[in-house]
C-alpha cells in the first residue's frame, strides 16, 4: 500500500498502546486505564449541561455514576484529532471536505444533508454505546482483550445493526 501502514501494523500498535496504557496508569495512579471513547461524550455533555442547569446534573443518576468534566478519558479523545492532524500534515494527506465521496454517490454532495446524517448517526452511536456499556474501543478492543463476556454480545450487536442497514443504504459496490 502506498503512503500508509498495513491495518495489521496499526492494529498491533494499538494493542501495544492498550497494554502500555493499562500498565503505566495502574503503576502510576493505582487504577488501570483501558482505552475507550464513548464515556468521554457523557462527561462533556454533563459538563455543558451543568453550565446551564447544575441542579439537573446533580440530581441525574447517570451523570453521578459516570462523573462529569475533564478527566483522562476526555483528554484521550481530545488527543486523537491532534495525532491525526499531525500524521495527515506530515504525509501530505490533510484535505478539507464536508462530504465523503462514497456518501456523495448515494445521497448527493449537499453538506447540509451530510451534516444532518452525521448528526443522527453520531446520536445513535453514542446512545447505543452507552446503553450497551461501550463502543468498538471500550468493548471491541479493551473488552475482548480482557475476554469479557459482555464484549462478545455487544460486538455481535454492532454488526447485526450495521451490516443490513449499510447494505440497504450503499449497496454492495466494490471499488
Amino acid at each position: 500500500m502506498r503512503n500508509g501502514w498495513s491495518p495489521y501494523l496499526g492494529g498491533a500498535l494499538t494493542g501495544l498502546l492498550l497494554v502500555a496504557s493499562v500498565l503505566v496508569t495502574y503503576q502510576l495512579f493505582g487504577h488501570p486505564r483501558y482505552l475507550g471513547t464513548s464515556t468521554a461524550y457523557v462527561r462533556v455533555s454533563g459538563m455543558i449541561e451543568k453550565a446551564v442547569s447544575p441542579q439537573r446534573v446533580a440530581e441525574n443518576e447517570y451523570y453521578r455514576k459516570e462523573g462529569t468534566g475533564i478527566d483522562w478519558k476526555v483528554m484521550l479523545v481530545l488527543g486523537v484529532p491532534l495525532g491525526a492532524l499531525l500524521a495527515a500534515l506530515r504525509n501530505g494527506e490533510f484535505r478539507l471536505r464536508w462530504v465523503p465521496e462514497r456518501w456523495t454517490r448515494c445521497f448527493g454532495n449537499s453538506p447540509l444533508v451530510r451534516a444532518v446524517g452525521a448528526f443522527i448517526g453520531g446520536f445513535l452511536i453514542i446512545y447505543g454505546a452507552r446503553l450497551a456499556g461501550g463502543c468498538p474501543s471500550g468493548h471491541g478492543l479493551s473488552g475482548m482483550s480482557q475476554l469479557a463476556v459482555s464484549a462478545f454480545f455487544v460486538v455481535t450487536g454492532f454488526f447485526a445493526g450495521g451490516i443490513p442497514l449499510a447494505l440497504i443504504l450503499y449497496g454492495r459496490e466494490r471499488r
Partner: protein
C-alpha cells in the same frame, strides 16, 4: 499528570488511526458492506496483541481487569442501535474526532450528535435500568471465569483463533 498522559496516549492513537486509514468514511462503510475489511483487520490484530498482553499483565499481577458488566439484552440492543448509527455516520466515537483532524469536517456533526445522544441517554437511563438492564444480567464476568480455565490459556487460544481467521480472510482474498 494523568491528564497529560491521557492526551499523549490520544495523540499516539490518532497518529496510528490516520496512518492505518481507519479515519475514512469509505473504510467503515467498506466493512459494513463487506467490501473492504481494513477496519476489521485493524481491530482483530489489536485484540490479538491486546488479549495476550492484558492476560499477561493480569496473570503477573502487574494490573487488574476493569470488566464491563454483562446484561445480555442491553448489550445486544445497545449494540444494534450503535450499528444503525455506524452505518449512517461512517465513523465510530474515536474515529469521528480523528476524522476531523484529517480534514473530514462532517465528523464535527457526528461529535455534536454524540454529545446530544449522551445527554439524552443520561436522562433516559432510569427507564432502561427498570427494563432492559434486568434481563440476562450476569455482572462482571469473563470467558475464563465461565469456562473455569486459566485466563492466559484462554487468551492465547482466543488470539490463535483470531489469527487463523485472519489467515482465512487473506487466503480468500478479502
Amino acid at each position: 499528570m494523568e491528564l497529560l498522559i491521557g492526551l499523549i496516549t490520544g495523540i499516539i492513537w490518532g497518529y496510528i488511526f490516520q496512518r492505518a486509514r481507519i479515519l475514512r468514511f469509505e473504510k467503515h462503510i467498506g466493512l459494513l458492506t463487506l467490501t473492504d475489511l481494513t477496519v476489521l483487520k485493524f481491530l482483530l490484530s489489536g485484540v490479538i496483541v491486546g488479549a495476550i498482553g492484558i492476560q499477561l499483565l493480569t496473570t503477573l499481577g502487574l494490573a487488574p481487569y476493569h470488566l464491563k458488566p454483562t446484561f445480555i439484552a442491553a448489550n445486544l440492543v445497545g449494540g444494534v442501535i450503535y450499528g444503525l448509527g455506524w452505518a449512517v455516520l461512517g465513523y465510530c466515537p474515536g474515529t469521528a474526532p480523528g476524522a476531523i483532524g484529517e480534514g473530514s469536517l462532517d465528523g464535527i456533526f457526528g461529535v455534536l450528535g454524540g454529545l446530544v445522544g449522551a445527554a439524552t441517554f443520561a436522562h433516559t437511563y432510569p427507564f432502561w435500568k427498570k427494563t432492559l438492564y434486568g434481563i440476562g444480567a450476569y455482572g462482571k464476568i469473563s470467558l475464563p471465569m465461565v469456562l473455569h480455565l486459566p485466563p492466559l490459556l484462554v487468551g492465547v487460544i482466543f488470539a490463535g483463533a483470531l489469527l487463523a481467521f485472519i489467515a482465512f480472510l487473506e487466503k480468500m482474498g478479502w
